[in-house]
Symmetry: C2
Subunit: 769 residues, 2 copies
């Protein structure tokens, strides 16, 4: 194989497209991630349809289908979970095996490859790949593959694979197939994750494989129905075949030069997550057949229409900076490809459908970073599903806490999970990064503040808040020596400190949680006293006694601060460290997590993500501008931003404090993280959850969006690098469009009933024009 165009830069910049030009085998894993597709229910990496014998990471994923891999640790510590849920590589449904004159089409072995291009059209969520290839001297074909995971019918996908005979082609064999023989690269013990059930084929050119996960027993049926056309005319197949765990259809044609052979592969994918086990096979087959009956145009149009809806509410337009424009859309695209919000069993995996690294699908990222995106760009029901997800895991959170010695309904949500059980196992994270409980309570507050849906509190929210508040209450210790309540032995969001005492962020949010739970309880007892009474019985809650205990902790909590200043101290003893700044570090030392030993990082002043600032981001209105600024000025220079979740919070705060250049600098660090592969790791998959931070940087940062007392507020700034930007917000049934340019800022009510908003400190009454 002679690569024709070894582009060293990464991807071409277009407002709506990501384009890879020229074939580069070394980039194949990275591009496999970048060009991933998903429809919130399932998805896959941009693996080739035809065989590829070079290096590739195969990846097809079904949301919520996981395997609890046995935990692997060096030294076992009490309380570690027995298993660690792995995202599973599932049945490969993109296979279209091609032989030209009997020779396998395989870019790894091809004589010459011309005009190779991958193009992700983000507007329509369509991936196309095209190239000309000489499979052997004198034998040349032109390939165009188009595919999408159907957003309108989320059990379906479609591939249109076209082969144009350019020269020397005598015979083309095309075999679309589904193959259940898949393995994870990421496995602890090389165990098999899947049990194969059966492969089946039908006479009308469809095939199906069914397999079931070991241990968790998720049954997944993956079917397809195919159709082959030459220059638009259907050609019959040469029958079906089965081979081990694979089932396929064989076409064998002899096109003339210039003719186009087009294969349509309509995929149907159904799992027992949403259906009866015994039904999945038939349902998957039905979906595939239905797709084929509809045909490409009909399927594609419905899919595009659905994405048009998504973009209508969720797009951000940036004028004057095409690279920023592309990046923000890339982030929005993947967030929507990962999560659709119609199933409370699903959540936002850190790699979405783009890779298998990291066990578990749910981190505190969901509540702390992702929720605002879905809350403001989708119907309220989407964000609500994320809250229902945690409510459904409450019992398991209570049992997690029990394992660590807590009782009486105290709930500790896991650091990482699939089904509510903890599936992370480093003690300093699993057992100590307990601040995650705070973000889960905060998400409830945030959701209710935004939507006004206080029904959620009645039905589910209070239960979650109670479990969380009880945890904090039990987790706090009274220091006789300092006469203060304390939270000892924690890891804050800044994971470059472990097992510290009195992490300001953790202590603050713990108090806030207990306080909010009391507020909600009081509101509940006033407005839904029967419900409240029932809950008191169900949860064995003597609110007078228990709240009194909580209040002691709220009032007496030790919140470390730097004497004589506004600065809140990250934890006890923080000022004992050598006080250096990130710019003191030689560039050869950065990132420090690749160049320093772990202990050196721990005892240094350097911060992965500044958790005091995270607290000020959440609770900005509890503090004066001067407090925000003094803390920002203290922490920002000590922060190395080696968490992908770090820069967005700094960007938002900097914008709020009028430090526009800093805000823009931080925005740049988050928005093109994956597209420019800053951390040289996108071959493993993309950073899905941190993508929400990019959206946050624009809307909450530059757009200064927040909801105060039920009223949307905007304080807009414009980075000098941009001509203008615009975004929309879905707020309680209204669609708002905010535009900011060099001259002025505007908020328009595009649909919904009249509304008052505050734009740059001015109240404005809005009516649909």
């Amino acid at each position: 194989m002679i690569p024709m165009n070894q582009t060293e830069g990464l991807y071409k910049i277009f407002p709506w497209n990501i384009v890879e030009s020229g074939w580069n085998a070394e980039k194949n894993r990275a591009s496999g991630s970048i060009f991933s597709l998903g429809n919130g229910r399932f998805g896959h990496r941009a693996n080739f349809e035809e065989e590829y014998s070079g290096d590739t990471l195969q990846g097809h994923y079904v949301g919520g289908v996981y395997y609890p891999d046995r935990t692997k640790v060096g030294w076992w510590k009490n309380g570690y979970p027995e298993t660690f849920a792995k995202v599973l590589n599932a049945t490969n449904w993109s296979i279209i095996d091609v032989k030209i004159n009997g020779i396998s089409l395989d870019l790894h072995n091809a004589t010459t490859i011309f005009e190779f291009e991958r193009n992700l059209n983000m507007q329509n969520a369509l991936l196309t790949r095209s190239f000309r290839v000489e499979v052997e001297p004198g034998v040349e074909v032109k390939i165009l593959s188009e595919r999408f995971c159907n957003m309108a019918s989320p059990n379906r996908a479609l591939i249109r694979y076209s082969i144009e005979s350019v020269s020397g082609v005598k015979r083309i064999q095309i075999s679309p197939a589904v193959d259940a023989d898949v393995n994870n690269e990421d496995t602890n013990w090389d165990e098999k994750f899947w049990q194969f059930n059966r492969a089946s084929v039908t006479e009308d050119d469809s095939a199906c494989v069914v397999n079931t996960t070991e241990k968790t027993a998720f049954k997944v049926a993956t079917a397809f129905a195919s159709r082959l056309e030459i220059d638009g005319l259907e050609v019959p197949s040469n029958g079906a075949f089965k081979r081990e765990k694979l089932a396929g259809i064989m076409y064998d044609v002899t096109p003339e030069t210039g003719q186009k052979v087009v294969l349509l592969k309509h995929v149907g994918l159904v799992s027992s997550l949403n259906h009866l086990e015994e039904d999945v096979e038939l349902l998957a087959q039905n979906e595939a057949h239905l797709g084929r009956e509809n045909g490409f145009e009909s399927e594609y149009n419905a899919h595009c229409a659905e994405w048009a809806n998504i973009w209508r509410n969720g797009d951000i337009e940036i004028e004057g900076d095409e690279s920023a424009q592309q990046a923000i859309r890339f982030n929005i695209f993947h967030l929507n490809a990962t999560y659709r919000g119609d199933d409370p069993q699903l959540n936002i995996g850190p790699k979405g459908f783009t890779g298998e690294k990291y066990g578990g699908a749910t981190y505190w990222d969901t509540e702390a970073y992702c929720l605002p995106f879905y809350l403001n760009t989708h119907d309220d029901s989407v964000a609500r599903q994320l809250l229902v997800y945690r409510f459904n895991h409450l019992e398991q959170a209570i049992s997690n806490a029990k394992k660590l010695g807590f009782n009486h309904g105290a709930a500790l949500y896991p650091m990482v999970t699939m089904n509510g059980e903890e599936c992370h196992n480093e003690w300093e994270i699993t057992f100590e990064e307990i601040h995650r409980n705070g973000a889960i309570a905060y998400a409830i507050f945030n959701y209710v503040r935004h939507t006004g849906d206080d029904r959620y509190l009645v039905d589910m929210g209070f239960d979650v808040l109670l479990g969380i508040a009880r945890f904090w209450s039990q987790r706090a210790t009274f220091s006789e020596s300092r006469k203060k309540w304390m939270i000892l032995g924690v890891t804050g969001p800044n994971e470059y400190e472990n097992n510290v005492n009195n992490n300001w962020y953790t202590n603050y949010i713990a108090c806030w949680c207990m306080n909010y739970a009391i507020e909600v309880a009081e509101w509940l007892s006033e407005n839904h006293s029967n419900v409240f009474d029932t809950k008191c019985v169900a949860w064995d809650l003597d609110s007078k006694v228990e709240f009194k205990e909580w209040k002691k902790r709220i009032d007496g909590m030790h919140l470390p601060s730097l004497e004589g200043s506004n600065v809140f101290l990250q934890q006890d003893g923080f000022m004992d460290k050598e006080q250096l700044f990130a710019f003191d570090l030689p560039s050869s030392d950065r990132p420090i997590n690749q160049n320093w030993s772990w202990d050196r990082i721990l005892r240094s002043v350097f911060i992965k993500q500044a958790d005091v600032l995270q607290g000020l981001y959440f609770f900005g209105d509890h503090f004066s501008r001067k407090q925000l600024e003094d803390n920002f000025d203290f922490y920002e220079p000590r922060t190395v931003h080696e968490s992908s979740l770090s820069p967005c919070v700094h960007s938002v705060l900097a914008a709020k404090l009028g430090k526009i250049d800093k805000a823009y600098e931080m925005y740049l660090r988050t928005s093109r993280l994956d597209l420019d592969d800053y951390n040289k790791e996108i071959h493993e998959g993309l950073h899905i959850t941190s993508m929400a931070g990019t959206w946050m940087s624009v809307v909450e940062g530059f757009g200064g969006f927040s909801v105060l007392n039920g009223v949307p507020h905007f304080s807009t700034v414009l980075p000098k690098e941009w001509k203008s930007y615009a975004f929309r917000i879905l707020f309680r049934g209204r669609l708002l469009r905010v535009t900011v340019n060099k001259k002025d800022s505007n908020v328009l009510l595009e649909s919904g009933s009249d509304l008052i908003v505050v734009l740059n400190d001015k109240e404005i009454g809005l009516t649909v024009i």
Copy 2:
């Protein structure tokens, strides 16, 4: 198989013997550990010679022969070592396969077993095992196996295996063999640790296998020469055989009822650790032949004479408490079986030759707990080897420190090692339990104090002290905010705290190390100025400048203490914990390391081993009695003694403070730890290093032995449970015998030149009578 005598208690108590009576298959792994043998060069578990198809942990070990197993961790952290040295299960040389009338002798399948007994004679280091067995109805034999690892000729071992034909025996086939086909139970990745080289046999009834460790390329030859006698008359063999990695000799005899068939298996074991690779096979064969030429009596007598020497200097006699008598001898026996001190490549593995658990052979246990035992019961050269061992690893300690970001010759000795490289991998231990450096310096001080051998300082000691002092100097941070030097982010000897700041023990010993290094440097420059000058050049030492820096740290070090008291605080923030006592814990919670999650242990007040007391044990003469007492009274009730190294230090301090009952209570916890299997884990092997603590409890605790300014001091107490006790001390060429009974205490000089000692505050001049 019908077990005849399922004794539920563990082992019978005799002053010089450990006896297991009755066959109990469930106890087989535990007994496999208890009855292990060794001669400091190699050793093995008490596996049966004949086949045993039931559950057993096979174990033959060669000191210093290890395999660097690839590290296994959940989440990799920068600085972790790539490999983790494993103690290797080596060639099985105890095999004597027996067939009676063609049926394998196998206790797992035997019809009935009578009078099974294992008996470890500690005085002569001889293991015997005897039983009668019905191999099938009507066919019965009586077996007596005797074996020892030759202490006089440490490349040899000997097994005498006798079969008495009781009834129905027509034919006995006996096949002694060596088998190189061995695996570790403890392996990270199921890799093969050994490469098989060859098996060979000779016509004169000897056989040998040679194998080489993967990666480390240690070549080990294991040979034997055998001889069979019936009623004392030699019987020729039926030839030799080889099978895969095994080589053996076959005897086939037809004894009459009442006749005794006795097999002698003389083993020779030689490794490339001490010999040229090309020589090991021949040397091993020679050893085996030499053994056979000498015969049983001669070999055994020489072995017994060597052990008689050991016991003459090292025995402790306890009158009035046979269980304590047995226990102390059991500990002394295994310490001597593990380490002989003639090879600076060897050290004292935590499981010795009794099991394969834990990688590495060397912990700080050696310097902190084991050194005093060898120092006082053996020639000075034995303890010196332990110091040479560390000197030989200095370059690697410097490179370990470099990996963690230190420079200019700073040395950090590993937490666990075989060859100087770190082979432990939990960050909170590997990177942070740096106090180990202190114990290594202290051992030098302790050795010189005891032996007066200041030549060691000139040749090697100063180099080690310099590397260690440099490490401490670089590891300390100056806190601008408190104007004090600090050591942040450490784990002290109390491993129930991780990543704490200003661990008192660590800070104190760090200062002491720097101070001692300066003292030694000054002594060196006065007494060996040429040597000192050479070292200054070699180590790039500008002593004026560098020592000034060290002194800043020594003088300005923060040593946390409890205000208004004598109590030194374990670390910053210790008093913020809920102040509970161990007796507050419900018994169902203990040991907490089996019942509490790790985070709960960490944030609790409970102490695994009290490191402040460890410091007061080392540096007792730096503090007043009142200081010792106040700290003892503070820490002892907070200590759960869940380290096998903990009770001995408390025992010594309690005895010093006149708290005899407490001292005795603590003594009991350490002395029968393995014999009574307190922690239900002896099936994995014994706690060799903590055995030294038992010796320490008697000699330094009850005997109150210490060396001050070159003079041995004794302050004796007698636990009320004992009638008397006696021990010996080797001190600078003299052998002292100390006896303590209810009436008085005596010190006798048994050999060597006149000496002044202090006994219970009275100076006594001693002369050999």
